[in-house]
């Protein structure tokens, strides 16, 4: 197995499962992945975030052994993606909720199909199919047509298919989109169990509620890694200053009034409330209240809140964009 020493990138203790060093991928004049470096350890749930076109999918396709990097190195489960993509592909599972199942096939037929694809046969195949049926809660529904299953079941079946060959690394692409919250929580329980057994889980997503389930997050933008850390670290570090929640009887008058204040860096509507970014809540409190009183907007609530992961994402991408305007 892999015995690469740990990079000092916050991955923490444990055996490295994916090591990416200075990875570059160019398509003609366009640099899709621009010197990306990170590593994951066994048993980690690792989130991959970024706006459309950030290089997220390209990186994942390289890690799956589907695309050769232009330069740099990626080692997945001990094998180099450039020199040994076959070995990499045998050691990974890939699941995208939308595309991975055959709706016309039964549950069992789907599992057998994926077994064949991954070269799982004989007694091991029946043992793994049994495991997948139990994991997905699909015992007794082996002969149901996949199209008739609810979203939560389909999703667990897709996961079962993706990990039938017991890969040490699994890639999930927006795995819980559109699934009801109860099934979604069950799904994440399964993912946590797999992680505890040592599987590395890569989650690529646009959805912050999926990102919250990850142990660490990598945020990509324009091909570069612009942030890497635990969700709580990113939330604390991303917003410069304090985030305040303002509830008022007149959002319209309030937003106009607070936007004129030098203490308020940003003001955004959030449903019935405003989110204000200020340098320091203590200094901003009085001027905000005074401006609102002058604008005849009554303050129902004004308090410091914790930034959400979405606040962090937006702040990090905005500061990265400001540091390097579009070419």
């Amino acid at each position: 197995m892999n015995s690469t020493p740990l990079d000092r990138d916050g991955a923490g203790a444990g055996e490295v499962s994916v090591a990416v060093q200075d990875l570059v991928k160019r398509f003609g004049a366009f640099t899709a992945v621009d010197h990306v470096t990170f590593s994951t350890r066994k048993g980690e749930v690792f989130g991959f975030l970024g706006p459309n076109g950030s290089g997220k999918s390209t990186t994942i396709r390289i890690l799956c052994g589907l695309l050769r990097p232009t330069s740099g190195r990626a080692v997945v489960a001990g094998f180099d993606v450039a020199s040994d993509p076959e070995s990499v592909r045998r050691r990974i599972g890939y699941m995208s909720q939308k595309f991975s199942l055959y709706n016309d096939l039964t549950v069992l037929e789907n599992l057998r199909f994926y077994g064949g694809l991954y070269g799982v046969t004989g007694a091991r195949l029946s043992q793994r199919i049994n495991w997948a049926l139990r994991m997905a809660g699909l015992h007794g529904r082996e002969d149901s047509r996949t199209a008739t299953l609810s979203g939560g079941w389909k999703q667990r079946l897709a996961l079962g298919c993706a990990v039938l060959h017991r890969p040490p690394i699994v890639f999930l692409d927006e795995p819980t989109s559109g699934v009801d919250p109860l099934s979604r929580r069950q799904f994440w329980e399964l993912i946590q169990q797999m992680a505890e057994e040592g599987v590395t889980v890569f989650v690529s997503t646009h959805y912050m509620d999926e990102a919250e389930y990850c142990n660490r997050l990598a945020l990509l933008m324009r091909g570069r890694l612009i942030a890497l850390g635990a969700p709580s670290e990113l939330k604390l570090g991303a917003v410069q200053g304090d985030l305040m929640l303002l509830e008022t009887d007149s959002l319209q008058r309030a937003i106009e009034a607070v936007r004129k204040l030098p203490q308020v860096r940003d003001a955004a509507v959030f449903g019935n409330a405003l989110h204000l970014v200020v340098a320091g809540a203590a200094d901003a409190n009085q001027p905000i209240r005074a401006a609102l009183a002058a604008a005849r907007a009554h303050v129902l609530r004004l308090e410091v809140i914790r930034p959400s992961l979405e606040d962090a994402f937006v702040a990090l991408t905005a500061s990265a964009a400001a540091a390097e305007p579009i070419r």
Partner: protein, 322 residues
């Protein structure tokens, strides 16, 4: 006054949409099962629930493209079944797969929809310029729609849907597959519209999107679970939610689940969420218990429950009762 916090009951003239006892059956499944709600003028109303909850069917009935089996829906006082033409003049409907012409440019798509809605050229150009600027797409007018990213396609769909002035805007899962930055721009456009008096019904499978609506209807299997302002919905969750942030969150889960006063336990990234009877009493107890067990943690803190917490709690209770 769209933003009032405590909204008085209003006479019908102030309601943009009134839905009563709506039912829609498909072979083998009741997609919408006795749905009743109303939407005030200038309100952003969210239809929130998982796939299969009945959101899209409800939207289609409201848009007048599908007839209900029973019940009624009024838009601006006009019945969607008896007077669909009057309804169509008042609404703009953006279905999940909005009909963009991929081999036409951004500008050509906008012109096509403007002609369809009978918008005069001068008004069309003014409005298109303003909408494109608002969603950061002014420099892409000559790009083919087929070459746009997912987020930009959604924004172009909205621009086309808004090239005329609807009283009611119906958006079916408009932010599916859209990244958070584009999503904020999209929402900024919606808030701008309600500022101009437009009423918006927005459906989403993402419960965190509910936070941005003035009021939300949580749907599950064709029925309404709750309908209220997001802030008030969260107060309906019995008990409190505590987060324990820890570098070893997964090792803490089982020990935390055994502590008194702790109900369900959820491992979320680098935190464990605990549903407890009373946060102010349990937070010090939990900190002391973790210290005495020598389990590492960064903080124990009360957090606001999410709409998802409420949804899961309500659905589990119903299933237990059934």
């Amino acid at each position: 006054m769209p933003y009032g916090r405590a909204r008085r009951p209003m006479p019908d003239s102030e309601h943009a949409i009134i839905v009563s006892a709506l039912v829609k059956d498909f072979p083998g499944v009741r997609a919408v099962d006795g749905l009743t709600f109303s939407v005030a003028r200038g309100e952003i109303f969210g239809l929130v629930g998982p796939d299969g909850a009945g959101k899209t069917t409800t939207m289609r009935v409201l848009a007048g493209v599908m007839s209900p089996d029973s019940g009624s829906a009024l838009i601006g006082g006009c019945d969607v079944v008896r007077d669909p033409e009057a309804v169509k003049r008042r609404i703009s409907y953006m279905p999940q797969r909005f009909g963009l012409y991929e081999d036409l440019t951004v500008r050509e798509n906008i012109r096509f929809y403007a002609d369809l809605f009978g918008v005069r050229r001068r008004e069309r150009d003014l409005r298109a310029a303003r909408l494109l600027a608002a969603c950061g797409m002014s420099q892409f007018q000559d790009r083919l729609a087929g070459k746009l990213s997912g987020g930009m396609k959604q924004k172009l769909g909205l621009v086309c849907a808004l090239i005329h002035t609807p009283q009611v805007l119906l958006l079916d899962e408009p932010t599916n597959g859209v990244d958070p930055v584009s999503r904020r721009e999209f929402w900024a456009m919606l808030y701008d519209l309600v500022g101009q008096g437009v009423t918006i019904v927005n459906s989403t499978a993402y419960l965190d999107e509910a936070e941005r609506c003035h009021r939300v209807a949580l749907m599950h299997r064709g029925r309404l679970l709750f309908c209220d302002q997001p802030g008030r919905l969260k107060q309906r969750l019995p008990g409190d939610v505590i987060a324990v942030v820890s570098p070893a969150a997964s090792q803490l889960r089982d020990s935390l689940g055994r502590l008194p006063g702790v109900g369900s336990v959820l491992l979320i990234g680098d935190a464990v969420h605990l549903f407890v009877d009373d946060a102010s009493r349990r937070i010090p107890e939990i900190s002391r218990a973790l210290e005495s067990m020598r389990l590492p943690f960064d903080e124990v803190v009360q957090i606001t429950p999410t709409i998802e917490d409420l949804f899961v709690n309500a659905v589990s209770e119903r299933e237990r009762a059934a």
